[in-house]
């Protein structure tokens, strides 16, 4: 799994890739991301995050759920090392970001839109992270083939993004994230723009890949059902100021399938999470400007 271009680590530095694979959904894995007392105030004065504390452990599937504007994207971007925090600390594999160095590559980000380069064919889009790291050769081509195969896009190498449906574009986007063989996947409402059928299908695919590859996923959504169906843990956020208000463990086994969607447990968790979300929305409401 270690690519040749990764800088050798000092002996004292724990190597995440050497870690034994943790059971999917386990809650006692090593911390992958530790957000501690993070505040984020944008230049225009918006308090996007206030005192956010969150630990994501290896093998977890954590959903960030909350009304729009509660800082989900902000938190996710901070976790990805995109954008500064106003105060507080964020650790990646128990180290400050600045010493993580090249290991940053083991993380991949999936945006709400497919965010493909329209001028490049699917294969070129998928290989972008490898190109940016100046990787080439037969091994690289194999990685690309594998990523395309995993998302079911084999044979679409030479298509342009606009020739693909929305769902297929999203698959290409996921393939691009997977091509670096990440062990942490950050997804910001990745399927929000898709129809429900496609969305359910992709959710199942992501779940399977997560289980199979021992990934850790942080998944932003505003759908209670999606959050409960996918996650081992649902983190509920409230707006104005953006903060974490609830942390609900979805104690149900994986793999999950259509049966889980109609089970009483599923309904129970959905009710619990919905109520938490309602409380969260009510917290943000009084400060809302009246029209």
């Amino acid at each position: 799994m270690t690519s040749s271009s990764v800088t050798p680590l000092k002996p004292s530095t724990p190597d995440p890739t050497a870690e034994p694979t943790v059971q999917a959904g386990s809650t006692n894995g090593r911390p992958v991301l530790q957000v501690e007392g993070v505040n984020k105030i944008y230049a225009n004065g918006t308090v996007a995050l206030k005192g956010a504390d969150l630990t994501v452990r290896q093998g977890e599937f954590v959903s960030l759920l909350g009304p729009s504007g509660c800082g989900k994207s902000t938190l996710l971007r901070i976790m990805a090392g995109l954008g500064d925090v106003t105060s507080g600390s964020i650790k990646f594999w128990e180290q400050e970001y600045n010493v993580v160095g090249d290991k940053g590559r083991k993380m991949a980000f999936v945006f709400q839109n497919a965010t493909l380069m329209p001028w490049a064919r699917v294969r070129k889009n998928v290989r972008l992270p490898l190109d940016l790291e100046h990787q080439s050769g037969p091994e690289t081509e194999q990685k690309i083939d594998k990523a395309l195969e995993m998302v079911g896009l084999s044979g679409f190498d030479n298509s342009f993004p606009r020739e693909l449906s929305g769902g297929m574009q999203m698959r290409a986007s996921i393939a691009r994230a997977m091509v670096t063989e990440p062990n942490l996947l950050l997804m910001d409402e990745p399927f929000g723009a898709l129809d429900e059928m496609t969305r359910n299908k992709l959710n199942d695919d992501v779940l399977k890949l997560w289980q199979k590859n021992g990934w850790t996923i942080v998944f932003v959504t505003h759908s209670v059902y999606e959050a409960v169906y996918l996650s081992s843990r649902v983190v509920v956020m409230a707006a104005r100021p953006g903060r974490i208000v609830d942390d609900i463990k979805i104690d149900q086994p994986f793999p999950r399938n259509a049966d889980f969607r109609v089970s009483t447990e599923f309904a129970g968790y959905c009710r619990q999470v919905s109520q938490a979300l309602e409380r969260a929305s009510a917290m943000g409401a009084p400060q809302e400007k009246k029209a």
């Binding site: 971007r77 995109l82 993380m107 980000f109 945006f111 380069m117 940016l132 342009f160 606009r162």
Partner: protein, 267 residues
């Protein structure tokens, strides 16, 4: 079964304006004959065609001169314009300090500064070229700069996540993304280069072996050779159309795989 021609989009697109054109010319010719219009006031299309044939060598020489200045100015405008855009996107400060001067170039009427340039630049060809560059460069600068700046912020974030160099960001992301804007700039700019070349020559009024179409028009006016004047005008128009068509073709070729502007409408 083959569809009737009248339902063929391409055929209609070409035929309809042609029909209008033919009727217009016909009407013009009939009017000129019917009102016994003297040809030193308004020649008919047939007179103009005759002049195109009899004065062809003079016209061709002038056309070549004008074309040379136009193309020279266009190429220089593209090179300098793109270079300026690349400079502008290096920092907001550079853009803020220099962009107003690009606007200044744009809003100054070339007719007003052409005499100065003709005094400063000895060689007439270069003097005219400079005038044409001044007119043609602005759309290139403004379009290309806009294009280089219009990057999908998420894609940019991705590049940042992989700690990409600015060079990589430019080559892999900004330049390809700017192409549609750049080609838009080319379409406007090629026409302006031609206008610049013609207008500058009107102001310069230089004759002799280096005379272009503008001088030919001036001279024909003095000599009341109005059909030749129209013939020169026809050549300028045709040149403009040809240049524009060439740019459209180039941009379609470059963008046809991915950009909406080059998409065929499907039926």
């Amino acid at each position: 079964m083959k569809e009737p021609l009248i339902q063929n989009e391409t055929f209609v697109k070409i035929a309809a304006p042609m029909v209008v054109g033919v009727f217009f010319l016909l009407f013009w010719q009939i009017a000129v004959v019917a009102f016994e219009m003297p040809k030193y006031i308004l020649p008919g299309p047939i007179e103009i065609m005759k002049s195109l044939v009899t004065d062809w060598s003079t016209l061709l020489n002038a056309l070549m001169m004008t074309l040379k200045i136009t193309l020279l100015a266009f190429v220089i405008a593209v090179v300098l314009g793109v270079a300026a855009s690349l400079l502008f996107i290096q920092s907001k400060w550079i853009e803020l300090s220099l962009f107003p001067y690009a606007v200044l170039l744009q809003v100054t009427p070339v007719v007003a500064i052409a005499p100065l340039i003709i005094i400063w630049v000895d060689d007439t060809t270069w003097a005219l070229t400079v005038c044409a560059v001044i007119i043609a460069i602005f759309p290139i600068i403004s379009n290309t700069t806009l294009g280089l700046r219009s990057v999908d912020p998420n894609l940019l974030s991705m590049f940042r996540m992989y700690r990409t160099s600015r060079w990589q960001e430019l080559v892999r992301l900004r330049i390809p993304g700017a192409l549609p804007y750049f080609f838009g700039g080319l379409r406007i700019s090629c026409g302006l280069a031609l206008i610049g070349a013609v207008v500058a020559e009107f102001v310069a009024g230089t004759g002799g072996s280096k005379a272009g179409l503008a001088y030919l028009i001036l001279q024909s006016g003095y000599n009341l050779q109005i059909p030749r004047m129209f013939a020169a005008l026809v050549l300028i128009t045709l040149t403009g159309i040809a240049l524009f068509a060439l740019m459209v073709w180039l941009s379609d070729r470059a963008l046809r795989n991915w950009h909406e502007s080059a998409l065929e409408v499907e039926h």
